[in-house]
């Protein structure tokens, strides 16, 4: 009924950006990049479903690839329900510093992604890399650490194999527990799903109390990254097919790399 006085619209939701930051340097070629493309595409279907039924936040997706330079797949965030992942190709160097600068530009309310009219939720950034930077990244990292959106963001890194520099990934995430190392294609695909889905659900979960504010010790609701890390850890611990994955500084499965494809 057009003039039904009771007619309503959906309650507006804040937007949670889910940003994939993907190393597409030469070493990522072959099975790794193929598996990554498949896994992210499949995970995005699931994330789209979560977003569709999430009464609290709409999830929008961004994708930033970096090799000899850094570039976004699309110039703005796109709705996860309709996001079209374009297959990434591997080749070139690992310009991590350039990627961080690019991310820093977009984590901005005035000239970046963070200006949705209904407001924002803390972004989730998933970094995937199999090596270490070939450019000078330290300056860029210091700069982005002053970005309030970056500070509050869920930051999780997936280290693809033993050659990934976990220490540098941990500098990015701010917490070594947020670095997950995978050793084969199957693990890579599964962990992309786990990390994407868990990060997407952080905004709509009931939360334990007992975190702390940055300036005090009063117990309050835990910050989004702590919630995400706990969620990812819980999933890894309870899923027997993920026993080969190393979370944090663990090297239990080091030396088991097998990138021979499908």
């Amino acid at each position: 009924m057009a003039n039904d006085p009771f007619a309503v619209e959906a309650i507006t939701r804040r937007v949670m950006p889910l940003i994939f930051m993907v190393d597409t340097s030469g070493s990522m070629g072959g099975a790794k990049i193929a598996a990554l493309n498949t896994a992210v595409r499949e995970s995005l279907n699931e994330v789209g479903e979560i977003s569709k039924n999430n009464s609290d936040a709409q999830i929008k997706v961004g994708a930033l690839e970096f090799s000899s330079d850094a570039q976004w797949m699309y110039p703005q965030l796109e709705d996860s329900e309709s996001f079209k992942w374009q297959d990434l190709q591997a080749g070139g160097l690992t310009s991590f510093g350039a990627a961080i600068n690019e991310l820093n530009n977009k984590l901005s309310q005035s000239h970046g992604f963070m200006s949705e009219p209904s407001g924002m939720r803390a972004p989730a950034i998933i970094l995937l890399s199999d090596g270490e930077p070939t450019d000078e990244y330290k300056h860029a990292l210091e700069k982005i650490k002053g970005n309030n959106w970056f500070k509050i963001a869920v930051k999780v890194a997936i280290a693809i194999g033993d050659d990934a520099n976990k220490d540098i990934l941990a500098e990015f995430t701010g917490n070594i527990e947020a670095v997950i190392t995978v050793h084969n294609i199957d693990q890579l695909k599964k962990i992309i799903r786990v990390v994407s889905v868990t990060s997407s659900m952080v905004t709509s979960r009931s939360t334990p109390v007992g975190g702390s504010t940055s300036n005090g010790t009063t117990p309050v609701v835990a910050d989004p990254q702590t919630q995400a890390i706990d969620g990812i850890q819980g999933t890894i611990d309870s899923n027997p097919t993920l026993t080969g994955v190393d979370q944090g500084p663990s090297t239990t499965n080091a030396g088991t790399d097998d990138w021979s494809g499908w």
């Binding site: 006085p5 009771f6 007619a7 309503v8 939720r121 939360t207 109390v209 611990d237």
Partner: protein, 431 residues
């Protein structure tokens, strides 16, 4: 390794077993499986969260809840607990029947109540169910939109995730709650969930179900760029939170274009309801939990509101009639209703217009709030009340003579008549 495989037989503490059929879904605390229990389909919640798996207190509490049984039929209550096995444990519950939608689907406007009757019924069922839970000395502790399944046609409500339910004041899971539903004192870290924090969450859910916006998300809330930054969240949802319709503080008013629903609906529903939300979300009640409306009070307010939603005597469409605001126009034809009589009985004030229902609970105080006692009918331009109850009404006229109105008989709607409803019931008066 706490996941279960299809076909696994799970031993239960009651000596029986259930058999895993398939996974239905997973969340932060665990996985839900479809199981066969006693030859019928049931659901098994199986914990994966180490904090719960390792908590003897949680396990004991779960057993206590099973032994005590459900406080109200709305709860999808744990009916059997699994023995600890395969590195974890869980509990068996009924499977949600078809026709029920998550409250989140209403928030997203993917589904709508068929009508206002269904909407008010849902609110009544929610407040009544929690009243029954609280009367037992329990508190629910994590009330949010994910707990409610509602039939949009009837307003029937089912309440799930009852495993955090514990004696009031006992925190069994360490869960504070969901942002936007959590009471300010939890957000501020002053307390763990209890019955007073339940009252807060209940009011949030009722507000959303009725006005279809969130009670603390207005202009001020929107001006905060990121609402799940813990420090921001504390400011927006803690002791400094501001109700969007707070009569004493306009800084967080709904924004046109963003919070359209409440702007539209706030004036449609009776002032009694608006005032109740203003009281329970007032600055006093934000800071002093004992000032909040209890579920019993919501129950009574909703019974009153239900009686105010009747057919407009002018246009015949359903609208709210308010004896306190006789000039308030019909939401459809925009005309105020012609003067109408009211039956004052107990705490209720029932507008006597054609096709109005008088409910048994309003005249006898009994619990079944769907049981009808009488109906207002129009005949030859005159209004009368038909007794549809099982007990006789004794009507006293202004000259102190009295008449008995039995089931199936009627009486005129006339100011000054006093009615005694059965032997046990209240006395009312038409004014």
């Amino acid at each position: 390794m706490s996941e279960l495989k299809t076909g696994t037989t799970v031993r239960l503490t009651n000596g029986r077993t259930c058999k895993v059929k398939k996974e239905l879904g997973r969340g932060g605390q665990g996985i839900v499986y479809a199981v066969d229990y006693g030859g019928k389909d049931h659901a098994l919640k199986w914990y994966t969260a180490p904090g719960i798996i390792n908590s003897k207190a949680f396990y004991k509490n779960l057993n206590n809840n099973v032994n005590a049984g459900t406080p109200a039929p709305n709860f999808i209550w744990p009916i059997a607990v699994a023995e600890s096995q395969s590195g974890s444990y869980g509990y068996v519950m009924a499977i949600r029947p078809k026709g029920y939608e998550e409250m989140g689907q209403f928030i997203l406007n993917h589904v709508q109540f068929d009508n206002v009757h269904a909407q008010l019924n849902a609110c009544l069922q929610v407040s009544t169910a929690f009243q029954k839970l609280h009367i037992r000395g329990l508190s629910y502790q994590d009330m949010n939109d994910g707990n409610f399944f509602i039939n949009p046609k009837t307003g029937d409500v089912l309440i799930c995730d009852n495993d955090n339910v514990a004696p009031d004041g006992v925190s069994i899971s360490g869960i504070g709650g969901k942002a936007g539903y959590m009471a300010p004192e939890i957000v501020e870290g002053k307390t763990m969930p209890n019955k007073y924090t339940d009252y807060f969450s209940l009011a949030v859910c009722l507000f959303i179900l009725i006005y279809m916006n969130r009670p603390f998300e207005g202009q001020w809330y929107l001006s905060c760029p990121c609402d799940n930054n813990p420090e921001m969240a504390r400011k927006l949802n803690g002791f400094s939170s501001v109700f969007i319709m707070d009569p004493t503080d306009a800084k967080n008013r709904p924004v046109r274009g963003v919070h359209n629903n409440v702007i539209k609906r706030w004036g449609i529903y009776p002032a009694l309801l608006a005032n109740a939300f203003c009281k329970t979300f007032s600055k006093e009640a934000i800071n002093n939990p004992t000032q909040r409306l209890m579920d019993k009070q919501w129950h009574n307010i909703l019974l009153q509101i239900r009686s105010m939603y009747v057919k407009c005597p002018n246009c015949g469409k359903e609208t709210f009639l308010d004896a306190q605001q006789m000039n308030k126009p019909c939401i459809w034809c925009q005309k105020p209703a012609p003067a109408f009589n009211v039956l004052k009985v107990g705490r209720f004030s029932i507008p006597l217009v054609a096709s109005q229902t008088i409910f048994d609970c309003q005249v006898t105080g009994q619990n079944d709030y769907d049981l009808k006692a009488g109906e207002v009918i129009a005949k030859n331009g005159q209004l009368g009340i038909m007794n549809t109850s099982a007990y006789p009404w004794t009507v006293t006229l202004p000259d102190n003579s009295s008449k008995v109105v039995n089931n199936g008989s009627g009486m005129p709607v006339r100011a000054g008549l006093k009615i005694k409803f059965g032997n046990q019931g209240d006395s009312g008066e038409i004014i």
